[in-house]
């Protein structure tokens, strides 16, 4: 089945079997391997991308559902430099192995879009659909807080 979408600012088209998942389209067809697949039950959130500006777990959406949509992956997030969320994840040591990180970052960016000044509890709740096995989440929550301050114009 043919589909057209805008991927990280560039119009792209593909012809894939109907059952192809968006995550597989992004990884296998378009080579956007920053979108990671960590489970098959929509629990881990490693595959989180933005579809029309909203965070979506791309392993649970069919590729054809993204026909006509604007999709942003981790590779397209910081088109003109690192996004403050990306920087904060590094500076706060919010990643170790880095496998969950693209999904965490994409989910956090959407979280901050919806709530620019979240509390620690709101961040924890907002990221409860993203699993991390390395960090214990302590520094991830700190990173989102720092990014929030940066994006509000307060230097951390």
């Amino acid at each position: 089945m043919k589909l057209n979408l805008t991927l990280n600012g560039t119009p792209r088209s593909a012809d894939v079997p109907e059952r192809t998942l968006l995550a597989d389209l992004l990884r296998d067809t378009f080579g956007m391997t920053g979108t990671h697949v960590g489970c098959d039950t929509t629990q881990c959130g490693c595959c989180t991308v933005h579809v029309d500006g909203q965070a979506v777990k791309s392993c649970t959406m069919l590729a054809v559902q993204a026909d006509g949509c604007t999709v942003t992956t981790i590779e397209g997030l910081g088109a003109d430099g690192l996004h403050p969320v990306q920087q904060a994840f590094s500076q706060c040591h919010g990643l170790q192995c880095g496998f969950c990180t693209p999904g965490m970052v994409m989910a956090s960016v959407d979280l901050l879009r919806r709530n620019p000044t979240p509390t620690a509890d709101q961040i924890a709740e907002g990221l409860s659909g993203n699993l991390c096995r390395c960090t214990g989440y302590v520094n991830i929550i700190r990173a989102v807080q720092q990014a929030s301050q940066t994006m509000q114009g307060d230097a951390p």
């Binding site: 910081g78 690192l82 403050p84 990643l95 880095g98 096995r133």
Partner: protein, 771 residues
């Protein structure tokens, strides 16, 4: 957007990982790549009565179908078992190894049975559906009681009573004598339940065969290419010179990625036979039933004390579930890792341990973060805490009375382990000082007003960090024309940030900025000797070799500096990477400036650093305050304080990160994680993230406070002790002691992990006292 600056990032690894440009094994694509799929056993124990894969072979896109016969025809052996021990009578352990593909029988749900290779992953999966396999199901055993019951179904004909070995360590007679004269005795049995390790990156491997060089290249996550290559050589029986392992980014490991699995061997075989690159990527559902599980231990501890509360002896009787086969480290865990520190941080005159290693119809067990160390640390501390309360003593006073005092180091335990250094009472005092002990009564009262019981648990752990299997660790260092130092070694990271810490060691030693150092792990440097990552040893193991390398580089440079300054070598000295002229013009020159001035000549400055590092003993005091909501049984960690003696610290942020991650993994085990098998069918009931409760953001710990208390070791060049696993070792007893303390307030007896809301609620409901 803020303009990015390289130095604004904390670690060298981060740039690629936060931008999605890391190289994980499932990211690779190659021209002509084929895709493998494994048909797995749906039964826990069955005879295979009929297998017809002809429809699979003729399905669209299928290139190859392999069964056990094909693997045998290729000359492949079984998966490795790392250690074999003897029982107390000197008889060798019964080792039952796992075949790459099952033949005739299957022994656990998820066991690989048939291998299908097709043009696409979906075609391979679709074709697998066409296999016709008939099973004659057999009785299953998934518990110790069922496996060792008289008349129980036998998993392996050679393993009577489903027993692999009854291992013993220590001095049984001395312990019996001590118990006979003891004034007080106590005992407690604790479970360290079976866990799923679950690194976030599912297991993956791809391979291609280079016909020209006769080399099979294997790309996979590992903890070090050397270990992985040796296991692959063991299975395939191919010439080691014809296997090259490549490891790039690794999405978490925790012990699980040290092993070669069936899929590695199958990918390699297909790549050679089909002359195409072949890839296999496990789904999460698959790796739940095929990545080795962890823990699966039951430890029954006994303690004998004199009238003054001095420990006379300790004894542990362990049940060690190997799963269906002996793979890799289950024996190492059950025999060595449980026994080596079985006296903990205490002076115990007599020690004895028995470990009954047995088989069940479950996924084989191997290393998971700590691999027996957190389990024994947990058992020791629960035992001491339990004994103190049973006999009406202060738990801290008993610990202080029995600590190995600082003047006793090096200290040889009753079972001949030599601890090199430690100051346990100082670390305990440090932890108490920061953990606000004076406000406890008030916090308990406040918690009660919120409808919660607050329990406080103090734990002291000690663990052995791994000496490693290789005799030494080597690191090759060489410069390019830009003065960038490349470090090559075997040990591989999976989140520990070696690239950053190793660069910091170089910066500390010779003043080369971290930006001018790169670490290349996982490049096949087969002429180097070294250990894989494991046992929390890499920072001080390979790190010491880097320090030695830096020392050699300074020595090499000395004649050149002397020539440059036209003085004698005796007239120059160096400190922190800077050369100084002792007399004369007192000139100074930084090593980094000198190497940069050499241009292309810098390539001639190179060396292989090496170091032999002894086993170290990280230890620490962890204190937890846990609130249990009376109406729901939901537990929350209100405060967590940890003070760890991990020796000299190189990278404070990363040490903190390791402790936080380890403690939260411990919380996962303490409060929820449990790989549960159905006793009748042997089906894994917690087979996905939907029913296996991974720790999630928030909800678990409100305030986390960590400090280090360094008592350096002289057993490696850096004075570091290792930190990777201590978070698990400290948190299990601290959290369990806190929960036990909370339950004690309503008169409820201790219960076993995991402390799920249902169990806690039931314990409080059944308790004799009302809150």
């Amino acid at each position: 957007m803020n303009a990015p600056t390289a130095h604004a990032l904390l670690r060298k690894e981060d740039q690629r990982l936060i931008t999605g440009t890391g190289q994980f094994s499932a990211d690779a694509q190659a021209v002509g790549m084929l895709y493998g799929h494994v048909i797995r056993s749906p039964h826990a124990h069955a005879r295979i009565t009929h297998m017809d894969v002809s429809a699979v072979r003729t399905a669209p896109g299928v290139r190859q179908v392999l069964t056990a016969q094909d693997v045998q025809a290729a000359g492949f052996g079984d998966l490795p078992n790392a250690v074999q021990v003897k029982n107390a009578q000197g008889q060798a352990q019964t080792v039952c190894t796992m075949p790459v593909l099952a033949h005739e029988r299957v022994l656990f749900v998820g066991q690989p049975l048939v291998w299908v290779v097709a043009d696409t992953a979906l075609q391979a999966q679709d074709a697998a559906e066409l296999a016709q396999i008939d099973y004659d199901t057999l009785d299953v055993v998934v518990t110790f009681e069922d496996a060792t019951a008289p008349g129980a179904v036998q998993l392996h004909p050679q393993a009577a009573g489903n027993t692999s070995v009854k291992f013993e360590a220590g001095d049984r007679a001395a312990v019996d004598a001590a118990f006979a004269k003891a004034h007080f005795v106590s005992d407690i049995a604790i479970d360290s339940q079976r866990l799923v390790g679950a690194p976030m990156e599912p297991r993956a491997v791809w391979a291609w065969h280079d016909e020209v060089r006769g080399m099979t290249h294997v790309h996979t996550p590992s903890q070090g290419v050397g270990g992985m290559a040796s296991y692959l050589t063991h299975i395939t029986r191919w010439d080691a010179a014809h296997i090259e392992v490549h490891t790039h980014d690794v999405g978490g490991s925790f012990g699980l990625r040290s092993s070669a699995y069936s899929e590695h061997a199958l990918v390699m075989l297909s790549a050679r036979q089909l002359k195409c690159p072949v890839r296999w990527v496990g789904s999460r559902s698959e790796v739940f039933v095929s990545d080795w599980h962890g823990r699966a231990l039951r430890l029954h501890g006994h303690i004998a004390l004199d009238a003054q509360g001095r420990i006379l002896a300790m004894r542990f009787e362990n049940q060690v579930d190997a799963g269906a086969y002996n793979v890799y480290f289950s024996t190492h865990i059950g025999a060595r890792n449980l026994s080596i520190t079985m006296g903990g941080a205490y002076q115990v005159p007599a020690l004895h341990m028995s470990s009954h290693i047995y088989f069940t119809n479950t996924v084989p067990v191997s290393a998971y973060r700590g691999a027996g160390r957190p389990d024994i640390a947990y058992a020791i501390d629960r035992l001491i805490d339990h004994a103190a309360h049973q006999h009406g003593w202060d738990g801290l006073a008993i610990r202080r009375k029995n600590f190995i005092p600082p003047q006793a180091f090096p200290y040889t335990t009753a079972n001949q382990t030599v601890y090199d250094s430690g100051h346990f009472e100082a670390v305990l005092d440090h932890a108490l000082r920061i953990s606000e002990p004076q406000g406890l009564a008030q916090r308990r009262a406040q918690a009660l007003q919120r409808g919660s019981l607050l329990g406080r648990g103090v734990a002291y752990y000690l663990e052995a960090s791994g000496p490693g299997g290789a005799a030494k660790d080597q690191v090759r260092g060489s410069f390019d024309a830009q003065g960038v130092l490349s470090l090559h070694a075997l040990t591989g990271a999976s989140g520990q940030g070696h690239e950053t810490s190793f660069a910091q060691i170089v910066e500390n030693e010779i003043g080369l900025p971290a930006s001018a150092v790169r670490y290349l792990a996982g490049e096949p440097e087969q002429d180097l000797v070294g250990n894989s990552t494991g046992g929390s040893r890499t920072l001080y193991g390979a790190g010491s070799a880097i320090k030695n390398l830096c020392q050699q580089l300074m020595t090499q440079a000395k004649p050149a500096i002397a020539a440059l300054w036209a003085c004698g070598e005796a007239d120059i000295t160096h400190a922190k990477g800077e050369w100084q002229e002792v007399g004369g013009a007192k000139r100074r020159l930084r090593f980094a400036d000198w190497i940069a001035s050499l241009g292309a000549q810098a390539a001639q400055v190179h060396a292989v650093g090496e170091a032999t590092s002894g086993m170290t003993f990280p230890n620490g005091c962890h204190i937890a305050e846990v609130e249990i909501h009376i109406a729901t049984g939901v537990a929350e960690v209100a405060h967590y304080w940890a003070v760890d003696d991990v020796g000299q610290v190189i990278s404070p942020e990363q040490v903190l990160g390791q402790v936080q991650g380890g403690v939260v993994q411990g919380m996962g085990q303490a409060f929820g994680e449990h790989a549960i098998y159905d006793r009748e069918t042997g089906q894994l009931l917690t087979g996905s993230y939907m029913d296996y409760p991974m720790p999630r953001a928030g909800g678990l710990v409100r305030h986390f406070h960590h400090e280090t208390h360094a008592v350096p070791t002289a057993l490696n060049l850096l004075g570091a002790k290792g930190v990777g696993e201590s978070g698990c070792s400290g948190s299990l007893p601290a959290l369990a002691n806190a929960v036990t303390d909370a339950l004690r307030q309503v008169g409820a007896p201790p219960i076993d992990m995991p402390f799920t809301p249902a169990k806690l609620w039931a314990a409080i409901q059944a308790a004799p006292k009302k809150p």
